[in-house]
Amino acid sequence: MANPKLAVWKFASCDGCQLTLLDCEDELLEIAGKLDIAEFLEATSGHSGGPYDISLVEGSITTAHDAERIQEIRRISGTLITIGACATAGGIQSLRNFADVEEFTRQVYAHPDYISTLATSTPISDHVKVDFELRGCPVSKRQLLELIAATLAGRKPHVPKTSQCTECKAHGTVCVTVAQGIPCLGPVTQAGCGNLCPSVGRGCYGCFGPKEAPNAAALSAHLATLGQTPRGLRDLYRSFNAAAPDFETESRRHD
C-alpha cells in the first residue's frame, strides 16, 4: 500500500509551527519514510498534486484570496488538521479584530490602497470543517509527533484539554501566583507546552489558548486583588489567542 500523502499549507503566520515539523530532527527522516510529503512549500519544491490524505494547515484567514484557497484545500484533503494559534484562533494578527484595520493599514503602509486585506483575522474552523485542532504558539513538538503517529495509526491523538495548572502540579513547579503574586493565565489555559513559563518564574501568557470551560471571570477577579488593572487584565487575554471565544469575551469585559 502506498504511504499516505501529506500536505502542509500556510496562511497568515510566522512559519514557526511548520518549522516545528522540521525541528523533529530525530524523527524527520522516519516520518518521511512513512508519509509521502506531497506538498510542503517551505521544505520542498516538489509537488505531486492532490488529493491529500492529511493536510496540516498553519496560519489564519486574513485575505479574500485565502478565504477561497482554504475552501479548495478542504475539497482536496481527507483529514484536515490545523496547527498553532493562528490557525486555531486567528493568532496575534487577530488584534486587528479589536481595531479599525483601515487605520492599521494607514499606520504601517505609505500607500494603503496597495494593500488588500480583510477586516478580521479568523481561524480556519470559521471557514471549513476541521478534523483536529492542535493548539500552541508555537505547537509543541511532542504533541505534533503524537498527532502524526495517531493519525497514521487511525486513532485519536492523546492531547489533554486540561489546564496548565495540571502540568505545573505534575512537574512539581511551585505556583507563581500563589507563591509570588505573579499574574498567570495557567488556570484558564490549555496544557501542552510543558509548563514552560512557571518553570522560569514567569506567569503563563496563554500560548495554548483557553482550556475547556475556563472560569476566566474568577481568575480575573483574583488577579485584580493582586493589583492587575482592567487594562492589564484586558491585554493579558488579548494576545496570541485574542480571538479564541473564551479569551475574547473576557478581554472585552475589561475594555
Partner: protein
C-alpha cells in the same frame, strides 16, 4: 521578436509566501519584480498602547525561524529607552542564545533549503536518499542550535525565558556545560559540511555590493554593534533613520529598504563576512580558505558557504562563552518605566533587524518601527535577478527559471518577516 515571461507563482524553500516576475523583450530585460504576497499582519500598529515589556514576545511572532533576532532587537531598544545597562553576564547569555538561532537557522537554510538547488533535487529528504550521512549530520547540527535555545529560552520557537533587562531565570552552569561535548562535535561537523558544500558547481556571478552590517570592536557581530558599510558608513543604531529609508511599492506587501540616496544595499551573511572577516576565529577563517572563500565574497551563490562558516563560528563562540559562563545574578535588570525613545539593531541570520520604539511615562508603546532584513534586501534581490537573467539568456525556460529561484534563495529570504514578500514570473518578449 519573442516575448519571454518567467513566472514562479509560489517560491518553494523560503520562509513565507513570495513570487517572481521577469519580462524579457528579445535580449532586453523589461521588468524584474520580486513580490511578497504574504498577507500583512500589522505588528507596528497593534503594538501601540501595549506595555513595553510585551514587545519582545509579540515581535518574536513575526518570524518563527528567527524569533531571537526580534527578541534581542526589541529588548535592546527598550533597554536604551529605559536607560538599562546590562551586566556582562546577561550580555554573554543573550549572545549564546543568539548563537543557537544562527546554528539552527543557517543549517536549516544551507542544508535543507539551499543545498537541494545545487544537487538538482527538490528537498533535503531527497538528498537523504543519496547522501544519508550528510543529512543526518546537518540535522544533528541544527538540533544543537535548537538545544541551545531550549536550554536557555525554554523552547526553540518563541522562547519564553527572555525579557527586557535580561532573563526570567538564569540557566544552571551545569546544564550549559553539559552541551560542551556536542558543541565540540558541532565545530567539526560545521567544517565538514562547509567543505562538502564547497564541492558544489557554483554559477559564476559577482555582485557590485554595498555591504551593510553591524560591527563590534572585538567580536564578530551577532547580538549588537554599530552599523557600518563597505563604503565608509559608521553609525550608531540610533542614527538609522538618517541614512536609510523604507518605501512602499505597489507589487509587494513588504516595504523596500534603501539608502537615503535611493541606492540598494546588501545585508546578511555576505555583508557581515566582508565587513568583519578579521573578527572570525582563526579556525573559522581557515575553514573559509579551505572552502575557497576570500576575505570578501561577491558571488551570492556562495552565500551557502559563508553561512556554514558562520555556523562554525557560532558553535565555537557558544562553546567559548559557555566555558566562561557565570550565571547572571540578578538574572535581569529592572527599572521603573520612563518616557523615552530606544533603538535596537542585531544581526538576524538574514541580516540587520532594526527596531525603534517610543514609550510614554507609564511604559506604554507610543510608536513602533520594525525593519526586517528581507525588506532591506528586496531592492538588491531585484538587482541580482536582473544581472543573473542578463547573463543567462541562453538558458532554456526551465533552467533560467531555476536560476532565478536560486538567486532569490541565495538570500534565505524570510518573507514572513518582510511582510510589510514572492511569485516567480519570467516574461520573454
Amino acid at each position: 521578436m519573442t516575448e519571454r515571461v518567467i513566472q514562479v507563482d509560489a517560491l518553494a524553500r523560503v520562509e513565507g509566501e513570495g513570487a517572481l516576475y521577469v519580462k524579457l523583450n528579445g535580449q532586453e530585460l523589461e521588468s524584474c519584480e520580486f513580490r511578497i504576497f504574504e498577507p500583512p499582519r500589522f505588528f507596528e500598529a497593534f503594538l501601540q498602547g501595549r506595555a513595553y515589556g510585551e514587545a519582545p514576545d509579540i515581535t518574536s511572532r513575526i518570524c518563527g525561524i528567527c524569533p531571537i533576532a526580534y527578541i534581542a532587537s526589541a529588548c535592546q531598544a527598550m533597554e536604551m529607552a529605559l536607560g538599562i545597562t546590562l551586566s556582562p553576564e546577561i550580555e554573554a547569555l543573550r549572545r549564546i542564545l543568539y548563537c543557537g538561532e544562527w546554528i539552527q537557522s543557517h543549517t536549516l537554510h544551507a542544508a535543507m533549503l539551499h543545498a537541494p538547488d545545487f544537487l538538482g533535487l527538490d528537498s533535503a529528504i531527497d538528498i537523504a536518499k543519496l547522501h544519508p550521512e550528510l543529512v543526518r549530520k546537518a540535522l544533528r547540527l541544527k538540533k544543537l542550535g535548537n538545544t541551545l535555545m531550549e536550554t536557555i529560552g525554554g523552547r526553540a520557537v518563541h522562547p519564553v525565558n527572555t525579557r527586557v533587562g535580561g532573563f526570567y531565570a538564569a540557566p544552571d552552569a551545569a546544564k550549559l556545560q553539559a552541551l560542551l561535548p556536542e558543541l565540540d562535535w558541532g565545530v567539526a561537523a560545521a567544517r565538514e559540511l562547509t567543505l562538502a558544500f564547497a564541492g558544489f558547481d557554483f554559477p559564476a556571478d559577482a555582485g557590485d555590493y554595498h555591504f551593510v552590517s553591524l560591527s563590534h570592536p572585538e567580536l564578530y557581530p551577532i547580538d549588537q554593534g554599530r552599523i557600518v558599510s563597505s563604503r565608509g558608513l559608521d553609525i550608531a543604531p540610533a542614527e538609522y533613520d538618517d541614512h536609510f529609508v523604507e518605501e512602499h511599492v505597489a507589487r509587494s506587501n513588504a516595504l523596500h529598504g534603501r539608502m537615503r540616496d535611493g541606492t540598494a544595499y546588501l545585508t546578511g551573511p555576505l555583508a557581515r563576512y566582508a565587513n568583519n572577516f578579521a573578527k572570525l576565529s582563526p579556525t573559522a577563517q581557515a575553514t573559509a580558505h579551505e572552502a575557497g572563500l576570500g576575505a570578501v565574497e561577491t558571488n551570492p551563490f556562495k552565500s551557502i558557504l559563508v553561512r556554514m562558516v558562520e555556523v562554525q563560528y557560532a558553535v565555537e563562540e557558544a562553546a567559548r562563552l559557555i566555558r566562561a559562563y557565570r550565571a547572571p545574578n540578578p538574572s535581569f535588570i529592572a527599572v521603573p518605566p520612563r518616557a523615552g525613545v530606544g533603538h535596537g539593531a542585531s544581526e538576524a541570520p538574514r541580516g540587520i533587524c532594526y527596531h525603534r520604539y517610543e514609550i510614554d511615562a507609564e511604559g506604554r508603546i507610543v510608536s513602533a518601527r520594525i525593519v526586517p532584513p528581507t525588506s532591506q534586501n528586496q531592492p538588491q534581490i531585484e538587482r541580482d535577478l536582473a544581472r543573473v537573467v542578463r547573463a543567462n539568456l541562453a538558458l532554456d525556460e526551465a533552467a533560467l527559471k531555476l536560476r532565478c529561484e536560486q538567486t532569490i534563495r541565495n538570500y534565505d529570504p524570510c518573507i514572513s518577516c518582510a511582510t510589510h514578500f514572492l511569485k516567480l514570473t519570467v516574461e520573454r518578449g
